[in-house]
């Protein structure tokens, strides 16, 4: 019996909610304060009858690997909006340059400071196991967001909110493999090889190539993390491999760089497939002008809003509302739907103004 309950709890914990942000907001709007139900993965109308969740002064710590990266600006807005909703406060900390020890230290500090919850980007397969276990033992919920440990990891984080990285790489590659001519040669780029938030995407790309019927050949370029270097390396690659049939980034910066090179040499317009991740304003511009085939929105706003919501509910319910895995990435941005993204939006980070 106990085993059954445990099994059900495991199932509930690992339920994957594939949900787009817009759908999520319309759902929340329909249900009033249906966030509770949404987090539980149930979506019943019971929550609509509630009088409203109390504002609590919980303090949540978000440990990030690139604290000043523009990608996470909407994430911070998501955290701020959820904090305003539930009366909580937050601290945004970690490392600027993916230094794992700095992030582990930030977790230790949060545990020592008796934070009410920790959301962390698990960019290393093992380094976060000990501080996560320590936090859980101290009654502090730990939620992974944006980057997660591998499937069979002993890490005790309660759930993962973000893109299933390997799967997203696999799905995106499957999408562009249909467009690349049979047997073509493509370039895959990665800004920092080996990091857990990027490497699985690349691994997904490569696995999809191996699984596909299309015998594509590829090179993997280390683009670096600095914008001018990313552009010059990808441009150098193109100039020395003019037969390239596709340029594919795994991060926001190198995806933008692929677009830049494509625009300069008119590559996409000549039939080269150019795709990648994230919604840098310039990337969206290249989609709009037809210099990039598509990019992927992994919905960074939800990566802030949902972990905070889940930690709040976990604390409020005394652990009865278990955080659930949430897949935030289903949206591809193409020339057909790019208009939706081009305006100023707090959800995309291009303005801090709240929507009216």
């Amino acid at each position: 019996m106990d085993n059954d309950i445990q099994g059900e709890a495991e199932v509930a914990r690992h339920i994957s909610i594939d949900i787009s942000r817009r759908k999520a907001f319309s759902m929340v709007a329909k249900l009033g304060l249906g966030g509770a139900a949404w987090a539980g993965g149930l979506g019943t109308s019971l929550a609509a009858e509630a009088n409203g969740l109390p504002k609590k002064g919980y303090k949540f710590v978000f440990v990030n690997h690139v604290t000043s990266n523009e990608f996470f600006t909407p994430t911070i807005y998501g955290i701020q909006d959820a904090c305003a909703f539930f009366g909580c406060s937050y601290q945004w900390t970690g490392s600027q340059t993916s230094v794992v020890s700095e992030m582990v230290n930030a977790m230790q500090t949060a545990i020592a400071g008796k934070a009410d919850g920790i959301a962390v980007c698990l960019i290393d397969a093992t380094a976060f196991d000990a501080p996560t276990a320590k936090a859980i033992a101290a009654g502090i919920p730990v939620v992974a967001y944006n980057a997660d440990v591998p499937a069979k990891s002993p890490n005790k984080r309660l759930c993962y909110v973000g893109q299933p990285l390997y799967q997203s790489g696999y799905n995106i590659a499957t999408r562009w493999l249909k467009l690349v001519p049979k047997g073509g040669h493509v370039m895959l780029s990665i800004p920092s090889p080996g990091t857990l938030n990027l490497q699985p995407r690349l691994d997904g790309y490569i696995q999809a190539i191996k699984d596909a019927g299309n015998p594509v050949t590829y090179d993997v370029v280390n683009s670096s993390t600095e914008q001018p270097t990313e552009i010059s390396r990808i441009e150098s690659y193109y100039l020395s491999h003019k037969d390239v049939a596709g340029l594919f980034g795994t991060g926001g910066g190198d995806t933008y760089a692929c677009g830049f090179v494509s625009a300069k040499y008119g590559l996409a317009k000549k039939g080269v497939i150019v795709a990648g991740y994230d919604l840098y304003p310039q990337t969206l511009g290249y989609i709009h002008t037809g210099d990039m085939t598509f990019t992927t929105d992994q919905q960074p706003y939800l990566q802030g809003f949902v972990p905070l919501l889940q930690m709040y509910l976990y604390k409020l319910s005394g652990g009865a509302v278990a955080p659930a895995d949430t897949n935030t990435s289903l949206a591809y941005v193409t020339k057909d739907n790019v208009e939706l993204y081009l305006g100023k939006s707090r959800f995309e980070g291009s303005t801090s103004a709240e929507p009216t």
């Binding site: 523009e70 600027q96 090179d219 993997v220 370029v221 600095e226 914008q227 010059s232 390396r233 100039l239």
Partner: protein
């Protein structure tokens, strides 16, 4: 070159430089005349290697990429050379590189200032950063390594907080953009044309900075005092050189040049990115200065060597990609190549020294 003189035994003895006996020695004699020659040899070896490995390296489009990179690293490397000669270093240049164009773009967007006015303002901000670095270093006796690590983080924090880490799309105002970095060189354009020239503008601005600093360093009292400050600070003070002031001026030059490099970069991409500079850029520029022949201990340095060093770094950066170095191993090649270039440079330099009797 060698003179003959009589010894007590009656046999003639050579003094001065030994005569070149073999072809190799004759080459070494030639190399020994110029301090920058050793790094020029390294650069040449790399160009030949990459051209043989991939025929596209010497194409005009690829040269444009490599020389634009050289321009970026070179401008900052030159800034470091002047400071390193005085025995100081500036690690905050990466942040100044990001901050100055941010200020420029914000002034233009928020107040409608033309880029021709907001760009000098951005450079002025870089110069002010130099003043702050200099004063903290010489007045408060904080080692410049620490001062500028501090200001590196401080300015990086300022840049990312100004606009919530978002890149700003920069205004394009011609002819400012074409003159200062925008690349109009398309695959179909002839190289000898205005569009062809714009392919190299960041590099040409850096060459201009190098020429100016070369004259300043070797032909002016300020240059002499800069070298004196780094080679013997007590002696320099005793003969009346205001060493503190010389150091502050060189910090200001470093800040100004880093800001100018950042502005050229932003003009090139029409985008101010808060993370355009960074520790990677700073380290590569310092590597360029050192492999170009500037001593980390102060007292000697060469701006032309720094430009050649920047070319070596840029060549490695892009040449390795052209050779198909896979992502996971490319940094191994880059690191090893920088160390090998340095070893070769030092060895040629030692041979040069040994040739003196």
């Amino acid at each position: 070159m060698a003179r003959m003189t009589a010894t007590s035994h009656g046999a003639p003895r050579k003094v001065g430089l030994r005569e070149a006996d073999t072809a190799l020695e004759r080459v070494l004699v030639l190399l020994s005349r110029y301090r920058e020659a050793s790094i020029a040899v390294v650069a040449l070896v790399l160009v030949v290697y990459f051209q043989l490995g991939n025929g596209a390296f010497l194409s005009s489009q690829e040269l444009s990429v490599v020389l634009r990179d050289t321009g970026r690293y070179g401008m900052i490397a030159v800034a470091e050379v002047m400071l390193m000669i005085t025995g100081e270093i500036d690690l905050s240049v990466g942040s100044t590189f990001s901050l100055a164009p941010y200020i420029m773009v914000l002034l233009s967007i928020s107040f409608g200032a033309p880029l021709a006015i907001s760009a000098p303002t951005g450079i002025l901000v870089g110069v002010m950063v130099g003043v702050i670095n200099g004063i903290i270093t010489v007045r408060f006796r904080v080692p410049s390594l620490i001062t500028t690590v501090g200001t590196f983080f401080l300015l990086q924090g300022v840049v990312v907080s100004i606009y919530n880490s978002q890149p700003i799309v920069a205004p394009v105002q011609e002819p400012f953009n074409e003159i200062f970095g925008e690349n109009l060189f398309g695959p179909a354009d002839p190289i000898w044309s205005w569009h062809g020239l714009t392919a190299f503008t960041p590099f040409l601005w850096t060459v201009l900075a190098v020429l100016v600093m070369q004259v300043v360093l070797n032909r002016t009292t300020f240059g002499l005092h800069t070298i004196a400050t780094g080679s013997n600070i007590i002696g320099a003070r005793e003969i009346g050189v205001r060493t503190d002031r010389i150091k502050v001026y060189n910090f200001m030059i470093a800040g100004g040049l880093a800001a100018a490099a950042g502005i050229v970069n932003t003009t090139q991409f029409a985008s101010a990115d808060p993370l355009a500079g960074g520790p990677f850029l700073t380290l590569q520029a310092i590597a360029a200065a050192v492999i170009g022949g500037t001593s980390l201990l102060g007292g000697s340095g060469t701006v032309i060597g720094a430009l050649l060093g920047a070319f070596v770094v840029a060549t490695l950066n892009n040449g390795l990609v052209m050779m198909g170095a896979q992502a996971t191993v490319s940094d191994i090649y880059l690191g090893a190549a920088i160390v090998l270039a340095m070893i070769l440079n030092v060895q040629v330099d030692r041979m040069r020294a040994r040739r003196r009797v």
